[in-house]
């Protein structure tokens, strides 16, 4: 194969002659390691995401052991955890650190970088008809900065004093004072460095995604002919672009408070028998800045899943997506609303009740676009020729989880109810269903669906079904009981609750949840096996195995750098012409002009023939 050389524009600008000079074959490093090919970068993000997901899941199993069997001794953990287990008892501060790292890893490293990083990178150029991202170099940089952030975060797990332990929301003053807990020491410093790098990585990726969608669409690809995946990825990137810099600002001020003696968040603190000199800071200020990112962040996690699920449900129902424009409208609505609801995380910080009512009102409005999406998915499934592929199972599972988790969001959005439910397992159950498990299902859905395009081979469907059912059942077994204990006021983040009479009656339920969690975690190894095995030994894929309409299936089975060997195909129609009456097949790819489909054209399409 001849070498593929991607260079920045030559036709209208004529700069960078030097970049046109290397026509040699790419060596191993250029092709697989420091690649600027969006498909390779997407796979790098996917692999990293999977590794992080197993680490994050393993941490959750560890702390579920503690919660499920609070009286037991875990001497068998000593070989793994060393000094963190003394006489078979988990160190309480290490418990806090595990909870913190589980949250950080899952939210940022798996469901932000692993999900957006994989699918935005992989699908945006392929589905809009571009050779690569607007800037391949920045895209590569995005992954490697993420990799560096990953190394620092991973390293912090092995510090003697443990990783960050102040919760994934790292509220000061706890996180700002190294003398407060072990988890606010070096671990927190490394957390902040890793997250700062992570933000830079996400911004580099995000500007690329947006610029590619806006500037590099192929001929005929108008914004209303884009697959919903692309709409979702673009808006995700916009949310990231607007919210991550704010987290960066918040983290920077926290770094100054921790290491340079400023008092942005600290005021009048008396700790370990010593009064601190800091005056004039405001801890609530941090919460405002943090949740201005933090709330859009949950949509950064879930929007890509929305897009992937919309695409997979339409393809496998063999029906056009119901309400294409309503789907775009609801994505836009959710994106806008996501920036004006952050204070619903702060109802109990003593905010003005009137302000609380405003944020409650805005929060509850989100139910409208969310419901539009759910009804559109259900209407797309309605009377479709449903093909239950593994990806489709996960897509339907996603809708189920999103409904179950979304309904409790309406309850939690009420500022009065939040007084009872704040920081209980009810909240844990809510967000794990609606953004944790649901986003994971979106990710699995995408992996099963686009695996043939990524690796040129198919994943095993039967193992996929087993993986789906075990995961689906485990998710509900874990999180349904949590609602129940949460309503009873059971607080989250507690190492030990056996000392509280009110919560002792939930011992059996907690054991049950822990068993279900271990069961669900174990089921993921089926996926891991299927994934790795199929990369090497899977059935070879055909060019368009799902009979899908979108552009990525017009590329060769294993597309090279540049995606299409010849001209980039032009686009003539929207991506959802499935089961069109009068058509020869039950799908008409976007590249087929109306002049070739006269038998199926609608009256208004005749003029386009």
């Amino acid at each position: 194969m001849s070498s593929t050389d991607i260079a920045i524009n030559k036709t209208d600008m004529h700069h960078d002659h030097e970049e046109h000079d290397h026509h040699h074959d790419q060596n191993f490093f250029e092709k697989y390691i420091f690649s600027q090919d969006h498909k390779v970068i997407a796979k790098q993000f996917l692999f990293m995401g999977i590794i992080w997901a197993f680490i994050g899941g393993f941490l959750s199993v560890l702390f579920r052991l503690q919660l499920g069997w609070p009286e037991a001794t875990f001497t068998f953990l000593e070989p793994i955890l060393g000094g963190w287990v003394t006489n078979g008892k988990l160190d309480p501060e290490f418990y806090l650190a595990m909870v913190t790292m589980h949250g950080t890893i899952m939210v940022f490293f798996v469901l932000t970088a692993g999900l957006s990083g994989t699918f935005s990178n992989f699908l945006i150029p392929l589905q809009v008809g571009a050779r690569d991202m607007a800037s391949g170099f920045m895209n590569m940089l995005s992954f490697w900065i993420f990799f560096l952030a990953s190394i620092i975060m991973f390293w912090s797990l092995f510090l003697e004093n443990g990783p960050a332990g102040g919760g994934w929301t790292i509220y000061p003053p706890l996180s700002a004072l190294p003398q407060a807990i072990k988890g606010s020491g070096t671990g927190m410093t490394m957390w902040l460095i890793a997250m700062a790098l992570f933000i830079v990585s996400q911004l580099l990726g995000g500007v690329n995604y947006i610029a590619t969608v806006i500037n590099l669409r192929t001929k005929g690809m108008s914004m209303t002919k884009l697959p919903l995946t692309i709409w979702a990825f673009t808006l995700t990137a916009v949310l990231g672009l607007l919210s991550f810099p704010v987290l960066f600002s918040a983290a920077l001020l926290l770094i100054f408070d921790r290491s340079f003696g400023t008092s942005f968040y600290l005021s009048d603190i008396y700790i370990a028998g010593e009064a601190l000199s800091n005056t004039g800071g405001s801890a609530i200020l941090f919460q405002h800045l943090f949740w201005f990112l933090g709330h859009p962040e949950v949509y950064i996690v879930i929007l890509p899943a929305f897009g992937i699920v919309s695409e997979v449900i339409a393809t496998n129902s063999r029906k056009p997506i119901f309400g294409y424009r309503a789907m775009i409208g609801s994505l836009l609505g959710i994106s806008v609303l996501s920036f004006v609801v952050w204070a619903h995380h702060m109802f109990v910080t003593g905010m003005n009740p009137f302000l609380g009512s405003v944020f409650m009102f805005l929060t509850l409005i989100i139910a409208v676009p969310s419901a539009v999406k759910v009804f559109n998915w259900l209407a797309t499934l309605w009377r479709g020729n449903i093909r239950f592929t593994a990806a489709m199972m996960f897509a339907i599972g996603f809708v189920s989880l999103f409904i179950s988790g979304g309904l409790t969001g309406i309850i939690l959005g009420n500022s009065a109810l939040d007084i009872q439910l704040h920081d209980t397992y009810f909240v844990v159950a809510h967000f794990h269903l609606v953004m944790g498990a649901a986003a994971f299902f979106g990710m699995f859905c995408g992996v099963y669906h686009w695996f043939p395009k990524m690796f040129g081979r198919m994943m095993d469907e039967k193992l996929g079904y087993v993986h789906f059912w075990l995961t689906f059942i485990a998710v509900y077994l874990v999180f349904m009981p949590m609602h129940y204990v949460g309503i009873a006021g059971f607080p989250r983040r507690y190492y030990n609750w056996t000392g509280f009479e009110a919560f002792n009656m939930f011992t059996d339920l907690n054991t049950f949840i822990s068993i279900a969690a271990i069961f669900g975690f174990t089921a993921q190894f089926i996926f891991l096996f299927n994934f790795i095995y199929s990369i090497f030994k899977g059935r070879r894929a055909t060019q368009n195995p799902w009979h899908s309409n979108t552009l990525e299936w017009t590329t060769p089975v294993n597309p090279g750098h540049g995606n299409w060997p010849g001209e980039i195909p032009a686009v003539y129609r929207w991506p959802y012409d499935y089961s069109k009456p009068g058509a020869e097949q039950d799908f008409i790819p976007q590249t087929v002009p109306f002049s070739e489909t006269q038998s199926s054209n609608l009256p208004q399409e005749r003029v386009l023939e």
């Binding site: 002659h17 500037n215 008092s263 405001s282 750098h561």
Partner: protein, 192 residues
């Protein structure tokens, strides 16, 4: 096979120019966070009031001048006036560096007036001022590096009307940095 990713792209804004605007938006969000935090924090009281350093006037003049020279360099590049390009890019770099020195001078003035970044005697009012100027200064250093790239390219005769993108991006970024400082200066004058 040589594939040119932007070959199929016709007219309108160049993707990299668009990318730069997006980067500018993200930087703006960062300063938006700082300045709104500043306002929120100031409303809560216990806020040290002090005079802004007089060096800020000098630095403001310097950065406005550097924007002018930057624009002259860009215009010269469009007209293939290569000597002028080199001269004006170099002038912009000098003015930009002088701006940084003026900012450091301003920090010196602040310390003389007992306004500290951190420590026992610090107040968020002063700390915010250091953060705003410091983070802006950091971005200005990245602008200077960009200018250096353009200067090297122009010395190799690679900046002219048919190869305008690099200096065009630099021009946009530099004007943004100048505008950002004017906003910050105005903001500090008003909220003081």
């Amino acid at each position: 096979m040589v594939t040119d990713i932007h070959k199929d792209y016709k007219g309108g804004v160049h993707p990299l120019q668009f990318t730069l605007w997006l980067i500018i938006i993200s930087i703006l969000m960062m300063f938006g966070a700082f300045t709104s935090a500043y306002i929120v924090r100031r409303e809560e009281g216990n806020w040290l009031e002090f005079d802004l350093p007089t060096s800020f006037i000098l630095s403001t003049v310097l950065i406005v001048l550097s924007s002018v020279t930057m624009q002259l360099a860009y215009n010269a590049a469009k007209k293939d006036n290569l000597t002028m390009v080199k001269l004006m890019v170099a002038a912009t770099m000098v003015l930009g560096t002088a701006f940084l020195f003026a900012q450091v001078e301003a920090w010196g003035d602040l310390v003389k007036n007992n306004v500290y970044f951190g420590g026992v005697d610090s107040n968020p009012a002063g700390s915010f001022l250091y953060v705003l100027t410091g983070v802006h200064g950091f971005h200005l250093i990245t602008g200077l590096l960009f200018l250096l790239m353009v200067l090297i390219a122009s010395l190799q005769y690679r900046v002219h009307s048919k190869n305008i993108l690099r200096i065009q991006l630099c021009n946009t970024y530099w004007h943004f940095l100048g505008g950002l400082w004017l906003y910050l200066y105005f903001f500090l004058q008003v909220n003081h």
